[in-house]
C-alpha cells in the first residue's frame, strides 16, 4: 500500500510537471524558418464520426504533400499539423488555440464541424485568421461584408437545400407540380441538421408543398420511431440531412420499413462511401448531392496523388481510398486554402510566407478559372470558382449522384442555387448577426483597400 502511495505521489508530481511542460512542448514548434506556410488540420480520426472524418483528413493532408512534391506554393513549403478534435467543440477550440500561432502563424482553419465553426467564427476575427468551411458552417456567412473571416466556399446548406428542391421539381416536371407534395426532412438534431430548415420552409411556402421535420438525436443509431412516422405519412420524398452513422442507419431503416430508396435524397455529407458501402445493395437507388465533385478516380489530381504521394510511400491513408467522395472533399478543401495563399502571393510577393490577413485577401479574390483548375488537375472535378469581398461563397455548382449498389454515379446535370431566394435570406440573417455583434458591414469601397 505504501508503495502505491509513493507511486501516486510520483504520478501527481508528474502531473504538476506536465503543466509546466505543456508550454515548452508547444513552444518548440514556434519560430520556424520563414518560407514555410503552416496549415493547421483539425481532424477527427476517432469517436463516433471517425469513419467520415478520416478520409476527409487523409485527402486534406495528401494534397498538402502533393503540393510540396510539386515544389511547394511558388517555392514555399506547406507544413501542417493535425490536431484531434473528436468532433467536440471544446477540443476544437483547444486545437485552434494550440495551432494558431504555430509554424509562423496558421494560414486558415477548417474545422469540419458546424458546432466548432460557430465557436471559431467568434475567435477568428480577433486572431485575424480565415476560416474556410467548404460545404458546411453557417449559411449566412456567405456575406463577406459581415463575416469578414468566414469562407463557406463552394456551397452552404441553404444552397444544398435549394438545389434539392430544384431537383425534385425537375423530377416532377416543374415547380408547380410540387404543390401538395409531401416532403420529409430527416435531420441530425444539431445546428448542422437544422441549417436547411429555414430555406426549406421558404420554399414550402413558395411552392405549396408540405414539409415535415423529423429530427434524429445524436449520433443517430436509433431511428425506428422516425421511420415509423415516415411509413405513416408516406412522404413523396425524404431529404436526409445526416452525418456519420446516422446515414447508413437511415438507409437500413428505410429498407426495413419498405420506403423506396429512390425517393431519398441526401445532402453532400450524406452521400459518400461510408454511408452506403456497408448497406450495399439495399442502398441502391439512393441519391445524394455532390459538392461539385463526386468520386473522382480518373481525375488527374487523383493520379498525381497516387503517383507522387502514395507512389513514394508518403500516403496518409489506404491507397484505395484515394478518389473517394470524402477524400476528394478534403483534398479540395486543402486546395482552396493553398490557392488562397497563391492568390495572396500574387499581391504580397511570390515565394513569401503569407499572414492570415494576406491569405484572407487571397481567398476574397480567388479566381479559379477552368484553365487554372485544369492545370491543377481538377478538370472534370469542379467548375470555376471566384469570390469577392462581398461574396465569400464563390459558386454554387451542385450535381446529384446515385448509388447503384456498388458505386456512386452522377445522375443529374449541374444545378445552381436560386440567388433570388438565397441572397435575401443571407442578407437578412447576416445583418441580424451584424446588429447583434455591433459590426458595421463593409462597403464595396472598403473592399478595394
Amino acid at each position: 500500500m505504501k508503495l502505491r502511495k509513493y507511486a501516486l505521489a510520483v504520478s501527481l508530481a508528474a502531473m504538476g510537471l506536465s503543466f509546466t511542460l505543456t508550454a515548452p512542448v508547444h513552444a518548440q514548434a514556434k519560430g520556424k524558418q520563414a518560407q514555410e506556410q503552416f496549415f493547421p488540420v483539425l481532424v477527427y480520426r476517432t469517436g463516433a464520426y471517425a469513419p467520415n472524418g478520416t478520409p476527409w483528413a487523409n485527402g486534406f493532408v495528401d494534397y498538402i504533400k502533393l503540393v510540396n512534391a510539386k515544389g511547394g506554393i511558388n517555392g514555399v513549403t506547406a507544413t501542417f499539423e493535425e490536431c484531434e478534435t473528436g468532433y467536440a467543440t471544446d477540443r476544437s477550440v483547444e486545437c485552434y488555440e494550440r495551432l494558431k500561432n504555430k509554424g509562423g502563424g496558421a494560414t486558415a482553419f477548417q474545422s469540419l464541424s458546424t458546432g466548432a465553426t460557430f465557436a471559431l467564427t467568434e475567435k477568428a476575427p480577433v486572431d485575424k485568421i480565415p476560416l474556410i468551411t467548404a460545404g458546411y458552417g453557417r449559411s449566412e456567412s456567405a456575406n463577406g461584408a459581415v463575416f469578414t473571416w468566414n469562407f463557406p466556399l463552394l456551397g452552404t446548406y441553404w444552397v444544398g437545400a435549394d438545389v434539392l428542391i430544384q431537383h425534385l421539381a425537375k423530377k416532377e416536371g416543374g415547380f408547380d407540380k410540387l404543390k401538395g407534395k409531401k416532403i420529409a426532412l430527416v435531420y441530425h438534431d444539431s445546428p448542422y441538421g437544422k441549417e436547411p430548415i429555414a430555406l426549406l420552409q421558404e420554399r414550402a411556402k413558395m411552392h405549396g408543398f408540405d414539409l415535415s421535420l423529423l429530427p434524429v438525436a445524436h449520433p443517430g443509431v436509433e431511428q425506428k420511431a422516425t421511420w415509423l412516422q415516415v411509413r405513416q405519412n408516406r412522404p413523396d420524398y425524404v431529404l436526409l440531412w445526416g452525418w456519420g452513422v446516422m446515414n447508413s442507419t437511415a438507409l437500413r431503416e428505410a429498407q426495413a420499413t419498405g420506403y423506396p430508396r429512390e425517393k431519398m435524397y441526401g445532402i453532400w455529407w450524406a452521400g459518400a462511401e461510408p454511408d452506403v458501402k456497408d448497406v450495399g445493395e439495399a442502398a441502391k437507388g439512393y441519391n445524394a448531392l455532390t459538392l461539385q465533385h463526386g468520386v473522382e478516380l480518373n481525375a488527374k489530381v487523383t493520379k498525381d496523388v497516387l503517383a507522387l504521394v502514395h507512389g513514394k510511400g508518403q500516403g496518409t491513408g489506404p491507397k484505395d481510398e484515394v478518389g473517394s467522395v470524402l477524400y476528394m472533399r478534403g483534398l479540395i478543401s486543402a486546395m482552396l486554402g493553398i490557392e488562397g495563399v497563391k492568390q495572396a502571393q500574387e499581391r504580397y510577393g511570390k515565394g513569401k510566407t503569407m499572414t492570415g490577413e494576406q491569405v484572407r485577401w487571397g481567398l476574397e479574390n480567388l479566381d479559379l478559372t477552368q484553365q487554372k483548375l485544369d492545370g491543377l488537375g481538377f478538370a472534370g472535378v469542379m467548375r470555376p470558382v471566384s469570390t469577392s469581398c462581398l461574396d465569400h461563397m464563390g459558386s454554387s455548382w451542385v450535381r446529384v449522384h446515385t448509388w447503384n449498389g456498388s458505386k456512386w454515379e452522377f445522375s443529374s446535370d449541374w444545378y445552381q442555387a436560386d440567388e433570388k431566394i438565397i441572397r435575401p435570406m443571407v442578407m437578412h440573417a447576416s445583418l441580424k448577426y451584424a446588429e447583434e455583434k455591433k459590426i458595421t458591414p463593409r462597403t464595396p469601397e472598403q473592399c478595394k483597400q
Binding site: 502505491r4 505543456t22 484531434e84 494550440r98 460557430f118 465557436a119 480577433v126
Partner: protein, 358 residues
Amino acid sequence: MIYRENGQFKTSYAADQQIFPILQDRWAILGILVFAFVAVPLLADEYLFRAILIPFLILSLAALGVNLLVGYCGQITLGAGAFMAVGAYAAYNFFVRVDDMPLLAALLLGGATSAAVGVVFGVPSLRVRGLYLAVATLAAQFFWDWAFLRIKWFTNDSSSGSVSVSNLSAFGWDLESPTDVYLFCLLILVVFALLAKNMTRGAIGRQWMAIRDMDVAAEVIGIRPMYAKLSAFAVSSFFLGVAGGLWGFVHLGAWEPAAFSLDRSFQLLFMVIIGGLGSIMGSFFGAAFIVILPIFLNQMLPWLGDLVGVSISTAGVSHAEIMIFGALIVFFLIVEPHGIARLWSTAKEKLRLWPFPH
C-alpha cells in the same frame, strides 16, 4: 518555514473559526492568490490562457458546484451539464433580450435561473436515492439537451439553434485579451470559492453533510431533508449555471447544446471524485487533472514518440490518450479512493509532524 500549528493557541472561538485557522495555511493561500493574480498574467502565454487556464478556472467553478451537491450533500448527479446549459442559455437570453444588461448581472441571473431549475429537478431526490437518483438526473440532461435544440425562443430564434455573444465587458473593463478574461474568471472563481467555503463551514454545510452521512439521524435532530437537499441542488445549480454562462460567453463565444452534453456531466463528476468528494480544494485538483491530463497526453505522446524515433498517427495518439486517461482514473481510484485532496491532507499531516514522525 516549518509547517506547524504548535504554539498557535486560539484565545477565542472567533479565532478558531477563521477560514484557515493555521497561520501557515493563511500564508500559503495568500501566496497562491498572489501567484494567480500577479505572476501568472506575467508568465503565461496566450495558448496557456485560452486553452488551459481559462477552461480550468471555469470547470473548477463547475466542479465546485458539483462537489457541493455530490461531495457535501451526498446526492449523485449525472445531469450537471444540463444545469450549465440552463445557466448559459438563460444568461444569453437576459443578455440579448434586455437592453444594456451588464455581463455580470446576466451571468448571475443565468445562475439564478439554473438554481430554480435545479430545485425542480432536485425533487426526485426526496424519494429516490443513490444510483437510482444518478440515473434519474439523466432525465434533466436529456430533457434540456432537447429543449435548447427544439424551443426556438431559447436561442432567440436563431435558425440553426446555435447562439453567440461578443463585445463583452464588465464594469467598463473590456474582456478582450486573454489576460483580462483570465482575471475575470479568476475573480469570479475566488469569490465563489469563498462563498462555498463559508457555506460548507456554516450551519447549511453541516446540514448537507449530516444528510449525506446519515439522513435518518439528521432528520431526527431537526434537519429538514427537503430543505437541505433542495438547497444543495439550488446552490450547486447556481454555481453550475454561472460556470455554464462563463463557458459559453467567455470561453466558447458561440455554443450549441452539445457543449454541455452528457460527456460534460461525466467529466465534472470525474473531477470531484478524482479531486476528492467533500473538499473545496479537491474540486480544483480534480479540474486540473481532468482538464490538463488529456491535453498533456495529446501533446506529450507524439513528442515521446519522436524521442524513440516512432511517429505516432493522430488517431493512435488519441486512442492512446483515452486509454491512458481511463487507466489513470482507475489507478487513482484504487490507490486513493478519497481523491487527491485526501492525499494532500495526508501530506500536510506528515509535514506537520516532520521531522519527528511520532
